[in-house]
């Protein structure tokens, strides 16, 4: 039986239609917007002025710096602990399901619930500082000090996403040949040595995958600073994603906001490219 050539396209139509309306159209429209500016409520062509403005925008550079600082610390930290967690869970024999579910839970928790709870716990007289006080540690200004606020965001993000990455690693670990470990232990390699010489190299493609996903996620970072710190104190946790939102929806500057959006796109493209090159995987 021969299928008419157009039939597959017919089946694809709903998906393509949705893609066109919700993805392609906004992508193209925001690109056009990034070359426009608002004058008395009308969008008028502005040439490259939005892009030029970036280079003199002090707040944009602050946001860029914050975003990269958070990314450089948070992504490796989280991925490393996710692998450690995954490989310990892989070795656990009892209550496997319980552990997996409890570590994965944060990834499916409602964002609002999670950030409200974190903001209450991290308050000046919140439970975290109360616990620290028991050990005689002075209250930490989690959400109000420029450095601690960044640390608080990193903590919250790591809590939320570590389980998600762990599950990915756990799945990948099922594909590592048991015989590799057997051979290694016969040769006298310790557990720790096995972890660094077998587990990590075997996981390389998956690590690359998660690293790219996390990098993209962090470059778009918005939820945590929005709900926990509102970008403060004094822009110390303002990310590019937050700045984009403020520019568009607080200051009504949709043209410049679109420009910021394209800066994020370019950054993601460049960083992903570098990650591919550095890890030497061209597949």
């Amino acid at each position: 039986m021969r299928t008419k050539a157009y039939v597959p396209y017919l089946f694809l139509t709903p998906a393509l239609g949705l893609f066109a309306v919700f993805m392609a159209y906004p992508i193209i429209y925001s690109f056009l917007l990034s070359f426009q500016t608002s004058e008395a409520g009308e969008m008028v062509p502005a040439g490259l002025s939005n892009y030029q403005r970036l280079f003199t925008d002090e707040i944009f550079f602050t946001a860029l710096k914050n975003t990269f600082l958070i990314m450089v610390v948070q992504v490796p930290l989280m991925l490393f602990f996710a692998i450690v967690l995954a490989s310990s869970l892989n070795a656990v024999k009892r209550f496997k399901g319980v552990f997996r579910v409890s570590f994965f839970m944060p990834a499916v928790t409602s964002l609002v619930a999670y950030s409200i709870i974190f903001s209450i716990m991290l308050m000046g007289d919140g439970i975290i500082n109360q616990v620290l006080a028991i050990f005689g540690i002075k209250a930490v200004p989690w959400l109000s000090h420029p450095w601690w606020a960044k640390a608080a965001l990193i903590l919250a993000m790591t809590w939320r996403w570590i389980g998600y990455n762990m599950v990915i690693y756990l799945a990948a670990m099922q594909n590592i040949q048991e015989s590799l470990y057997e051979a290694a232990s016969i040769d006298g390699a310790t557990r720790i040595k096995q972890f660094f010489t077998i587990t990590i190299p075997q996981l390389k493609p998956v690590i690359l995958f998660t690293a790219i996903l996390s990098t993209i996620g962090t470059l778009q970072l918005f939820d945590e600073p929005y709900t926990l710190t509102k970008g403060g104190p004094s822009d110390a946790t303002l990310t590019i994603g937050m700045y984009l939102y403020q520019t568009g929806f607080r200051y009504f500057d949709f043209g410049y906001a679109s420009t910021l959006a394209y800066v994020i796109v370019i950054l993601i493209g460049v960083l992903s490219f570098i990650q591919f090159k550095v890890t030497g995987d061209d597949e």
């Binding site: 159209y25 409520g41 903001s119 308050m123 403060g232 104190p233 929806f249 009504f252």
Partner: protein
């Protein structure tokens, strides 16, 4: 092709928005031909106590206009602005017929979306202008045309817990200046453990704005120049720093944090606009009779103690399909004494409709406040309130002023913090900064 997809997306977005709003729309739109007897379903966006005020007004209004139905959607304050901005940018898609907008945001919206709102002067609202104070009219109009119905105002006061003051043996009569207040605050903290004021140190600068207004300055001067470096603005920030240095400030997290501090008695006073009455009677029912109000302390003996914080007005998006019905109802709401008195009596919203001030309600005792005549106090304040200049760049100025306050609490000298904020604001708005 672009046209088609644009239409499609608008259609989809609006249907999604409608569905998301909880769909009680099944019986609307049967007839939009302007027939006065036809059923009209109006929708409104508002938040907090304003929702109740709107519903109470509708009950009265329906006696003479049984064909009009009103559906009020209770949306969070900031969410209203997000949805409103998005809807206006999308050419009016998914917007309600009436929306509440705070006075400090009106000029920003009118500048960004000059065609987004109904011109009320064309509908004849100019004839009502005399009923409102001049500063309120100025805030509700652009180029001499009304675009908003003036509603509530926020003459400020220090809401205080009489029981805490008594326990500490402090009388409010001794508090005339901010220095007096700090001295009293120290005594209260020592005797009762309660701190003096709640401030969202790193995210909001409400007290700073009250002090600016009290001192007759604001983020901008009347020519639209940035006024952060005005010695009076520095004086205000210095006072806030002094409160912090004396450990009299409870750092609260946003609105919810402020309300919790109000309820649990961890602060002795809450400086806010008159509208905070509504929140207190609503949220802190157990503390009935234990509240009082005194005006903001002055910066020097005999100085001005009147200021305004907040206040809002109703606007009609021009995308409405029921412009006449929406105008008729909103005008009724804004200019009817009975409606405004209910709004104040039941919901604590202080009217800017001056014709109400002579009524019994304003001259009477308030039981929740231990029989104090708080409304008389607030209404007498109205005439001394200086006009604040918000401009269309208010949101940016608010952002920078909040940063200056955050920097101050993190140890920076207030004058330096304000100077840096003024410079950033000048870059962002292309405005001149005074004394830069």
């Amino acid at each position: 092709m672009l046209k088609l997809s644009k239409m499609l997306s608008l259609l989809l977005i609006s249907s999604v928005v409608l569905a998301a709003c909880g769909g009680k729309n099944e019986n609307e739109g049967t007839n939009s031909g302007g027939n006065t007897d036809a059923k009209v379903q109006l929708t409104a966006w508002a938040w907090n106590v304003n929702v109740g005020a709107l519903n109470s007004a509708m009950e009265l209004y329906k006696k003479d206009h049984p064909n009009v139905e009103l559906k009020v959607e209770d949306i969070g304050r900031l969410d209203v602005y997000d949805k409103l901005s998005t809807g206006l940018a999308a050419g009016g898609a998914g917007l309600p017929d009436i929306v509440l907008v705070e006075d400090d945001r009106i000029q920003g919206y009118l500048e960004a979306f000059p065609k987004g709102f109904l011109n009320l002067s064309e509908k004849g609202f100019d004839s009502k202008a005399d009923s409102f104070p001049a500063f309120k009219n100025e805030l509700a109009s652009k180029d001499g045309k009304f675009f908003a119905f003036p509603f509530d105002a926020g003459p400020t006061g220090m809401f205080y817990r009489t029981d805490i003051f008594e326990q500490a043996g402090v009388s409010v009569d001794t508090i005339e200046t901010w220095d007096d207040f700090i001295a009293a605050g120290k005594t209260i903290k020592e005797k009762t453990g309660a701190q003096a004021v709640p401030i969202d140190k790193f995210k909001d600068d409400a007290l700073f704005r009250m002090m600016l207004n009290q001192l007759g300055v604001y983020y901008f001067d009347k020519d639209g120049n940035i006024d952060f470096n005005n010695p009076k603005a520095v004086q205000a920030m210095d006072t806030i720093k002094a409160l912090g240095d004396a450990d009299l400030v409870k750092d609260v997290n946003g609105w919810d944090g402020t309300v919790s501090a109000t309820i649990d008695g961890s602060v002795a006073t809450v400086p806010f606009g008159a509208w905070y009455y509504g929140t207190i009677i609503d949220q802190a029912k157990d503390t009935s009779g234990k509240w009082g109000v005194f005006p903001l302390p002055a910066f020097e003996k005999g100085g001005n103690r009147a200021a305004n914080l907040g206040g809002s007005s109703w606007m009609i998006p021009s995308a409405t399909k029921h412009a006449d019905a929406a105008y008729a109802f909103a005008e009724y709401f804004a200019t009817t004494n009975e409606v405004q008195e209910i709004a104040m009596d039941k919901h604590g919203l202080f009217p800017s409709l001056q014709t109400t001030y002579d009524s019994e309600l304003f001259q009477g005792d308030v039981a929740f406040f231990g029989g104090q005549k708080i409304w008389k106090l607030f209404s007498e304040e109205m005439k001394d309130i200086p006009t604040p200049y918000y401009t269309k760049d208010y949101a940016l100025a608010l952002d920078e002023a909040t940063k200056a306050q955050a920097d101050t609490f993190n140890g920076k000298n207030p004058a330096d913090a304000l100077k840096e904020s003024a410079k950033r604001l000048a870059d962002r708005t292309k405005r001149q900064a005074n004394n830069g």
